[in-house]
Amino acid sequence: MRRPRRATLAVAHRLAILAYIIFALFPLFWLLKVSVTPNDLLYSEGIRMWPSQMTLDHYRFVLRHSDFPLFFRNSVIVSGSTSVIVTLLAAAAGYAMSRFVFRGKIWIVGLMLLTQMFPLVMLVAPIFRMLAPLGLTNSLGGLIIVYVAFNVPFATFLMQSFFDGIPRELDEAAMIDGATRFMAFRRIILPLTLPGLAATMGFVFTAAWSELLFALMLISSTDASTFPVGLLSFVSKFSVDFGQMMAAGVMALIPACLFFLFIQRYLVQGLTAGAVKG
């Protein structure tokens, strides 16, 4: 195999990456484009890459005349609380899974996987029945409880893998230096897992942010609705108002983008380390 063949491969390789990026970015771009296209141009210029005129009307309308600011607030409360609670629980459980050897560990992991595979739709009714008498339907609190329950297993798994990456000898050194197991965890191990905590928190945040099923089923009043439910209401309308929907959608992306910017440097560190090693 001579150099030309290798060069062809390299070009093909790069083209594949480019295609992937375009594929991944296109929906984002489309979203942005529609959100700034005036309604009267939306159908007439539907296939143009960029509208001849831009407008921020959709954003203005969504912010001023819709319930989206309320939905946004609700989503922030629910996703924020869920991610904080889940991350704390998952850090404790993940540390235990990582550091202690015990019989039945395999079965716990199996169960965790199994619960992940549960078709959630089936649990809507039982959960509704459980929460209703406690007055937790139609409340953000109830939603938080449900999200916490469903996100803890995977988050634990994630945190365990981060703790596995931190040598056990560090805990041991701290314990010999005079710390209890808990102090070693809090003062030595936890600070070193900050990127992992951030990643887990971000993962849970976005999972809660975009969850639709329970948000739809457990909440009926607009006061406690979350963002995805609000977005869905656009679809359910007789005529879809694409411009407004997409404007709201762009706003929905804000926390995800903020989060990515926030953890970016940790990601870079992690990936670079891997690249140098390989």
Binding site: L170, E172, A173, M175, I176, D177, A179, L192
Partner: protein, 358 residues
């Protein structure tokens, strides 16, 4: 500083038995090296003394006090880990002072202790650096410093030099030894490297398969290994070993080896005539005699120059036999050499029990 007593200590992980009853008394101020191949249980024993592994059975006493149930933090010991286990998010000074800060030591006393240890180890200019900016040797020194700062009852070392290159290992070995002379604290050092064991130890504990094989001063183990394992493990180039049969019936005791040769022994053995034995000879005790001398002639199969000397391989007594000489003689592959071994340099082991007979 304290004595450490280990009595009938056993360790099992679920159904795997790692240590089968270890007895060991370490005196106040002594430097003891636990040495053995990987999986012999030496690290497990060290970790049990540190309190990082529970004791399945038996008793460990530090300074006469039973510590089986004590947490590591309450045993007043310091440990140097193979990976150094420095806290990456703390500076060198913070790493070294962490144990004192946990004990709420007054700030001035911490500063004195840290500066004293830093001076001893030449870490002064590095105190504000983070571990990841240090070289391997510097990290090793910080790990040592972290242990020294506390003036603990005992130091435990878990293969602390195995991540360093050969040159640095040689240098740090001497530094650890000198530091021990200076501080005089009881030390237990785990290694798989027999040279480290030989050069560092007041006493060596040679372990294999979860059992202590021999305890003694370095040259005792070198000169009179108690069994085949110790004979083969200690010494480089490794001891030559071959099978033979004991002949004690005649005038003088001797070993009959393959090829019909009789090797004279300096003393007769307390075993029956005809006992199957394994004979060991260290390569440096195999003498290449000048041509024409009396002795056994062998064809040279390989010559390995180590710089310091030569390792000469030949087939003898049914095995690959090595001689080590400081002479840079012109011996080449294919030459025939005459070889002799003095009777006092023969190590004789029972072929069945593998224990020393002479």
């Amino acid at each position: 500083m304290a004595s450490i007593d280990i009595a009938e200590v056993r360790k099992s992980f679920l159904s795997t038995h790692v240590l089968h009853g270890i007895n060991l008394s370490i005196h106040d101020g002594e430097f003891v090296v636990l040495v053995g191949p990987s999986g012999c249980g030496k690290s497990t024993l060290l970790r049990m003394i540190a309190g990082l592994e529970e004791v399945t059975a038996g008793e460990i006493r530090i300074a006469g006090r039973r510590v089986n149930e004590l947490e590591p933090k309450d045993r007043d010991i310091a440990m140097v880990f193979q990976s150094y286990a420095l806290y990456p998010h703390m500076t060198v000074a913070e790493n070294m002072s962490y144990s004192l800060r946990l004990r709420k030591t007054p700030r001035e006393r911490i500063a004195t202790a840290v500066n004293g240890a830093a001076a001893k180890l030449g870490l002064g200019p590095l105190l504000e650096r983070r571990p990841r900016t240090l070289s391997g040797g510097q990290r090793q020194r910080v790990a040592m410093g972290r242990a020294i700062v506390r003036s603990p009852q005992a130091f435990l070392f878990d293969e602390p030099l195995s991540n360093l290159d050969a040159r640095l290992r040689e240098q740090m070995r001497a530094e650890i030894k000198m530091l021990h002379r200076e501080i005089g604290a009881t030390s237990i050092y785990v290694t798989h490297d027999q040279i480290e064991a030989m050069t560092l130890a007041d006493r060596i504990v040679a372990m294999q398969g979860g059992l202590v094989q021999q305890v003694g001063r370095p040259l005792e183990l070198y000169d009179r290994p108690a069994n085949l394992f110790v004979a083969g493990f200690i010494g480089s180039p490794a001891m030559n070993m071959f099978a033979g049969t004991y002949r004690g019936g005649g005038a003088a005791a001797a070993i009959a080896v393959p090829g019909g040769v009789l090797l004279a022994l300096s003393n007769s053995l307390q075993v029956a005539e005809g006992t199957a034995v394994t004979v060991g000879v260290r390569p440096e005790h195999v003498t290449i005699a000048p041509p024409g001398s009396e002795g056994l002639a062998h064809r040279v199969e390989l010559v390995e120059p180590t710089g310091l000397g030569l390792i000469i391989h030949f087939k003898a007594f049914g095995t690959d036999f090595k001689a080590f000489t400081l002479d840079r003689s012109d011996i080449a592959i294919g030459d025939t050499v005459t070889v002799c071994v003095a009777p006092r340099h023969l190590h004789v082991f029972d072929a069945g029990t593998e224990t020393r007979l002479n």
